[in-house]
């Protein structure tokens, strides 16, 4: 180890392709690593790695407008200038409020101010496989991109403190702020895809996003035997774009069983899928240390 912490994000574009299952197995196979569950909007890694929380805190990622009714003169300026229909002279819609502060500067009587609100919790935990940073975004809360950045920071700090070589990041589906925050400035993105038309479409978009950040991409096909033609298309796509195809995993029922037993798949049962994941990890760790 040369003292440089490497970061790997497992991402998919489309949800449900097996991203978390793959990452949980990597957590069992890799050495000297910290895990970061950055799918804060639908966090699931903790269901497999069963962490014990050692440190936690509120995440104050958003602000909302608060009114001092004593100072309000009902000028209506707040309502006139708010672009999010979040405020009237009598009400503030906390879900609609963006916390931009327009009403605060527009109010002629200084009756409005911004207050930070907790929109989730972050956790630093220990698992059987090493430390893990994760979070829980409050349902119906916002600012998930910033929470992702915070979880990554906690993981990086932990890696630095303990001299760990690798941060394993579980990314969110999509290509918006949550997915982007998990991809920015990492050393490599592993795109877990499936041979469905939606899987291919979504992979292409998340690959484009990775390119946007200059992050090198490698691809793993899950449920590869579901549709031979689509699997061929993904292989061709990798060749055309010079992405290394890390492997192909077959469709296998025991994947959900392992999830139900709360253990990483590679620790649950040996079979074609676990063998594929082991090989993928062995190649990936070479690529990361190159």
């Amino acid at each position: 180890m040369n003292g440089v912490v490497k970061q790997l994000t497992v991402i998919s574009g489309k949800g449900g392709t097996g991203k978390t299952t793959v990452l949980a197995s990597f957590a069992a196979l890799a050495e000297d690593k910290v895990m970061a569950d950055c799918d804060v909007d639908a966090a699931n890694l903790h269901l497999v790695l069963t962490p014990t929380v050692v440190e936690s805190g509120d995440f104050y990622g958003a602000q909302i407008a608060v009114r001092d009714a004593k100072l309000c003169q009902q000028s209506g300026e707040c309502e006139r200038y708010c672009r999010f229909d979040a405020i009237t002279t009598t009400d503030i819609d906390e879900l609609a409020c963006e916390g931009c502060g327009m009403c605060v500067v527009a109010c002629p009587n200084g009756a409005l101010r911004l207050e930070t609100v907790s929109c989730g919790q972050w956790y630093l935990s220990e698992t059987d496989y090493g430390p893990m940073a994760h979070a829980r975004l409050s349902p119906a809360a916002e600012s998930s991109g910033r929470l992702v950045t915070m979880v990554r920071q906690k993981a990086e700090d932990t890696a630095a403190e303990r001299g760990l070589a690798l941060v394993l990041i579980d990314g969110a589906p999509g290509i918006g702020c949550t997915a982007a925050a998990a991809l920015a400035d990492v050393d490599m993105a592993l795109v877990v895809t499936e041979p469905t038309l939606s899987g291919i479409h979504d992979m292409e978009r998340v690959v484009e996003l990775s390119g946007h950040f200059g992050v090198p991409v490698t691809v793993l096909i899950n449920k590869a035997d579901l549709n031979a033609e689509n699997t061929r298309r993904i292989r061709d796509y990798c060749v055309e774009n010079q992405f290394e195809l890390l492997g192909e995993l077959p469709y296998d029922e025991s994947v959900t069983e392992a999830m139900a037993h709360q253990v990483p798949l590679v620790e649950y049962r040996d079979g074609p899928v676990t063998e594929g994941i082991r090989q993928a990890w062995s190649r990936l760790s070479q690529m990361l240390s190159a």
Partner: protein
């Protein structure tokens, strides 16, 4: 929902990949058989829009989605820094003689232009996505939003897409996964939210968050259990405990997965599902009218 208008049903899922789009498009296809020309499908999963893959619509029009971002006239600007001081999103910075904007961080709130004492900031349009309009051979009116890759602000695109909701039609909204802003923006347009889940610990955990989000937003919801299997009662038990209607069970079936992989809906590949899908919609309508009656009686 006024008396003349038809209800809007959103289809959402906390966890991605549970079959949300498959169900939404299948429902639209089944309903279009008995309500020809009266069904609208709106794909609000603007980060990864997929409904077109299953419905094969003919797209006739693309509308750009723009957001406002600041443009600074450096000849007028005095570099006073008030814009940067008031911007809550760090989307504008004044560093010595330079004024730098970060359009990706901008919320288009207009505070910078409002506080600028010399009027150096104008707000200009920047395209962040587009909305496609078209129809399918079965006469389903099709609307689909698409966020530009590299732009992170899904919400304005979701809003522009969802607002194409036509009150005179039966509208099905395909929502993005999760429970954050884009999902909330979508289900806000609906009278009822169908939550598609799978009977796994992941599916259940994310379903609980989705239900809580619906409740906070005051939107009634019901559940579709996809990839259902005997011996996995977790989701069913949860719904019973919480008093949530389970609207439909779709079994774990490799043939369904293979049809989906080819880009076929449940209704197209397995016509025997038609009646069940229509029945789900009728159950939703009944549940909505009961809620409405209960409210009147209150």
């Amino acid at each position: 929902m006024s008396e003349r208008s038809k209800p809007t049903v959103s289809v959402a899922a906390g966890k991605g990949g549970t079959g949300k789009t498959l169900f939404a498009t299948s429902l639209a296809v089944a309903l279009s058989e008995i309500h020809p020309g009266q069904v609208q499908l709106i794909d609000c999963d603007v980060e990864e829009p997929n409904a077109d893959i299953l419905l094969h619509p003919q797209i006739t029009q693309h509308t750009p989605v723009n957001v406002l971002v600041p443009q600074v006239d450096l000849d007028i600007c005095t570099r006073c820094g008030l814009c940067a001081k008031h911007c809550q999103f760090s989307a504008i910075a004044v560093i010595r003689d330079a004024v730098i904007t970060f359009p990706d961080l901008c919320a288009a709130c207009g505070v910078c232009a409002y506080v600028c004492p010399v009027g150096a900031i104008t707000e200009v349009n920047r395209q962040v996505g587009s909305v496609a309009h078209g129809s399918t051979v079965r006469g389903i009116e099709f609307v689909q939003g698409r966020l530009s890759v590299g732009d992170q602000r899904a919400t304005p695109v979701t809003r522009a897409t969802g607002s194409c909701n036509d009150d005179s039609m039966i509208t099905i909204l395909d929502a993005p996964p999760g429970t954050a802003c884009p999902m909330q923006e979508t289900i806000e347009f609906s009278d009822y939210c169908i939550l598609v889940t799978e009977p796994t610990p992941f599916g259940l955990a994310n379903l609980e968050d989705s239900v809580e989000t619906c409740r906070r937003m005051g939107i009634p919801c019901g559940v579709v259990i996809n990839r259902d299997q005997a011996g996995r009662p977790g989701v069913e038990d949860y719904c019973t405990r919480e008093g949530i209607d389970v609207l439909l069970h779709i079994p774990e079936d490799r043939e369904i997965a293979e049809a989906y992989a080819r880009g076929e809906t449940l209704a197209d590949a397995f016509p025997q599902w038609h009646d069940e899908l229509v029945r789900v919609y009728e159950d939703v309508i009944r549940s909505l009218s009961q809620t409405a009656t209960a409210k009147v009686e209150e």
